[in-house]
């Protein structure tokens, strides 16, 4: 049977891709963000995932306003990155997992989520950047991925409650996935930031701390705010926290914190990188440490 080992969560900002391209990771401006990743890689090295289920929002690469799905599940054999308008070097293509995609799709529709399915899909920086930060020495990353996108661009957006429920339906699908796979979920975006309007540059460390403190132990606490309230608290793009909420739901009931980084600012964004693990993930980590000690 498949095991859900935990999840990692990260801000995604196109400028991170620019910093990687310029090899600026060690610069004082960037190092607080890039230094967040060795603990993530260490944890991934312990739990050794085969499979990633990734929740993020597209920023106008795969979806335009002509067709804007609230929730879309990728079911492609692979997901290529492409030029998002700035001519940055392309990130490695991500390997897909169509069998698991369709298993998740079946469960979601059974649970009355009216999703969009995508047998062709480009992935933008929101998926590519965390993948390349987690596996910098691999092209492609040594995992198969099911991408799930959430509309955080064009209102009305799905509620936080609905996103958590979507994630929990995915958790149900993963729990009854018969293959012997090691699954880690990923949620990207946020934390607080606002790119547009006279309030551009807004961040809110207090709300971010509330999210980070509750995501592991009480994710339902994050669903008590309406989308409008989240925009007020986190900024127009800080609403990407919806991706984290859905990813947390996909981890199942219990989660404990492994590592957390919070830094202001990366570009216009309050940046955070967080690792949570399930009990299965804890057992996997302990088994690895015992083996190393023996």
């Amino acid at each position: 049977m498949a095991e859900i080992l935990g999840g990692f969560f990260s801000s995604h900002v196109p400028a991170i891709g620019g910093a990687i391209a310029r090899k600026a990771q060690a610069e004082p401006y960037w190092s607080p963000f890039f230094d967040a990743w060795p603990p993530v890689r260490e944890w991934l090295g312990k739990v050794k995932p085969t499979t990633i289920v990734a929740f993020y929002n597209d920023h106008g690469l795969n979806f335009f306003l002509d067709k804007m799905p609230t929730f879309a599940v990728g079911a492609a054999p692979s997901y290529a990155n492409a030029d998002e308008g700035w001519g940055l070097p392309l990130f490695p293509t991500v390997q897909g997992h169509p069998e698991l995609s369709w298993h998740i799709i079946e469960q979601l529709v059974e649970d009355e989520f009216d999703i969009t399915t995508c047998q062709e899909m480009l992935c933008d920086h929101a998926l590519s950047i965390p993948m390349v930060l987690a596996w910098p020495d691999h092209a492609p990353a040594p995992v198969r991925v099911v991408p799930i996108t959430i509309n955080t661009v064009q209102h009305p957006l799905p509620s936080a409650k609905r996103c958590l429920a979507l994630g929990r339906s995915v958790a149900k699908a993963l729990a009854n996935w018969g293959a012997d796979e090691r699954i880690v979920v990923m949620g990207t975006g946020g934390l607080s930031h606002q790119l547009d309007g006279e309030r551009a540059g807004f961040m809110n460390p207090e709300y971010d701390a509330f999210c980070l403190d509750n995501l592991s132990k009480d994710p339902d606490a994050l669903t008590r705010h309406s989308v409008h309230e989240i925009v007020e608290l986190a900024g127009t793009q800080g609403v990407e926290i919806l991706n984290w909420i859905a990813a947390r739901g996909a981890m199942g009931q219990t989660a404990s914190e492994v590592s957390r980084t919070y830094h202001i600012p990366i570009s216009n964004t309050a940046a955070s990188v967080l690792v949570l693990e399930t009990e299965a993930g804890q057992r996997a980590g302990q088994a690895k440490e015992t083996a190393a000690a023996a």
């Binding site: 400028a15 335009f64 064009q154 790119l195 202001i264 309050a270």
Partner: protein, 122 residues
């Protein structure tokens, strides 16, 4: 949502904005393709004419005015592709919208770190 109280300095990109801004956002979306970016640089007016922009949208693009583009239905994720053509990043765009210099805007971002507990390696 119409019933929600406005958030100062914040524009919700809703159905009204999406309808109003469709052509402008379509123009910006086309800039994912490097050929289109070059065509815009080569002859801005001719390239823009391929999209049914309103006079308000045309003027906002000609003036490089982000707040006017947003008032005309532009969405920042798409507008960022247009800004990129001019080598402008989101700090430049933020400075323009807030009426600050770019240095002052960057300093405002940095200043928000003051008093915040930065965490690393939990």
């Amino acid at each position: 949502m119409a019933s929600s109280k406005p958030i100062p300095g914040t524009h919700i990109f809703d159905g009204d904005a999406a309808r109003k801004g469709y052509a402008l956002n379509a123009l910006c979306f086309s800039f994912n393709d490097a050929k289109n970016r070059q065509a815009f640089l080569d002859d801005e007016e001719a390239y823009c004419a391929k999209f049914p922009l309103t006079p308000e949208q045309k003027a906002a693009v000609a003036e490089r005015n982000v707040l006017k583009m947003m008032a005309a239905g532009g969405n920042i994720y798409y507008l960022a592709k247009l800004a990129g053509i001019f080598g402008l990043n989101v700090q430049d765009v933020g400075a323009q919208q807030t009426g600050m210099t770019v240095d002052a805007f960057k300093q405002m971002l940095l200043d928000q770190a003051v008093g915040v507990k930065e965490t690393a390696h939990g």
